[in-house]
């Protein structure tokens, strides 16, 4: 995984592994920066045991995409423009912001959202799609400015 984090200082590069341990909380998981560039290696975010929200934009820093691992939820609430593929194999990826041209494939777990996607979305046989995000009370609309292929299960929340 390669991230370039954008602070007030000039950009610099580092290679963190984002593995969410129980000692971390969702609120401080990604504090201290305003944006991150996803470089060629892509970003792997494992949310085992804890739900995480990333409000900062994940920007296009190369060909890398986003791989979501772990049984808990990852929420993207920012305006994301990374260009590589988005892969969900476990847990829930919830998008309340937007995802740019990344093609999204859900091979396991769930994609939930009331945000927007500009790339194609594919829900494979073992995947799930929740329309309207995770809010159990208010309704919402998922916008896909591309193709949607559904082989898995669907539920309005």
């Amino acid at each position: 995984m390669n991230f370039r984090w954008s602070f007030w200082r000039p950009l610099f590069s580092l290679r963190p592994i984002i593995a969410v341990a129980a000692r971390l909380s969702a609120s401080n998981f990604v504090s201290g920066f305003t944006a991150a560039y996803v470089s060629n290696g892509g970003a792997v975010i494992d949310t085992t045991n804890i739900d995480v929200t990333i409000s900062q934009p994940l920007l296009n820093g190369g060909t890398g995409g986003l791989t979501k691992l772990g049984s808990a939820a990852l929420t993207l609430s920012g305006t994301n423009s990374y260009g590589g593929p988005t892969l969900v194999s476990d847990g829930t990826l919830s998008v309340s912001g937007s995802v740019g041209l990344s093609a999204v494939t859900v091979s396991g777990g769930t994609l939930a959202g009331k945000g927007s996607f500009n790339g194609a979305v594919t829900i494979n046989t073992n995947g799930n799609l929740i329309l309207g995000g995770l809010d159990p009370v208010n309704t919402g609309t998922l916008t896909i400015n591309s193709n949607l292929n559904l082989a898995g299960n669907i539920s309005p929340n």
Binding site: L131, I144, L148
Partner: protein
């Protein structure tokens, strides 16, 4: 879904192709006022190719059904009698000056 809200249900707007490519299940949970026959919920903004392949669950009430209109207009509706969606033949007969058209009872409700 909740009929008391301005937007009665979660939905998806898709600008590209929209297709069902498997045999998944669509789970429909009503969290609002009791449903009545004729209620219609627009889940997709357009017809869903092969949308009739989705299984709709659970039933809206005992003895009622979800009518799968996905392939037609992207919606589902509450009915108390399921209308078969497979193609069928219309039988015509002429007796004297009377012309009669007939079709299977499980296809009542079709609109030509």
């Amino acid at each position: 879904m909740n009929k008391s809200l301005t937007q009665s249900n979660d939905a998806a707007v898709v600008t590209g192709s929209l297709a069902v490519t498997g045999v998944g299940t669509l789970t429909l949970n009503n969290v609002g006022p009791a449903l009545v026959v004729g209620d219609r919920f627009q889940l997709f903004n357009k017809p869903v190719v092969n949308g009739s392949g989705l299984t709709l669950s659970p039933a809206p009430a005992t003895g009622w059904y979800w009518q799968n209109n996905f392939a037609v207009d992207g919606s589902v509706s509450v009915v108390n009698t399921l209308v078969a969606t497979n193609p069928t033949n219309i039988v015509s007969t002429v007796s004297g000056s009377q012309f009669t058209l007939a079709w299977p009872a499980d296809h009542l409700g079709w609109r030509l």
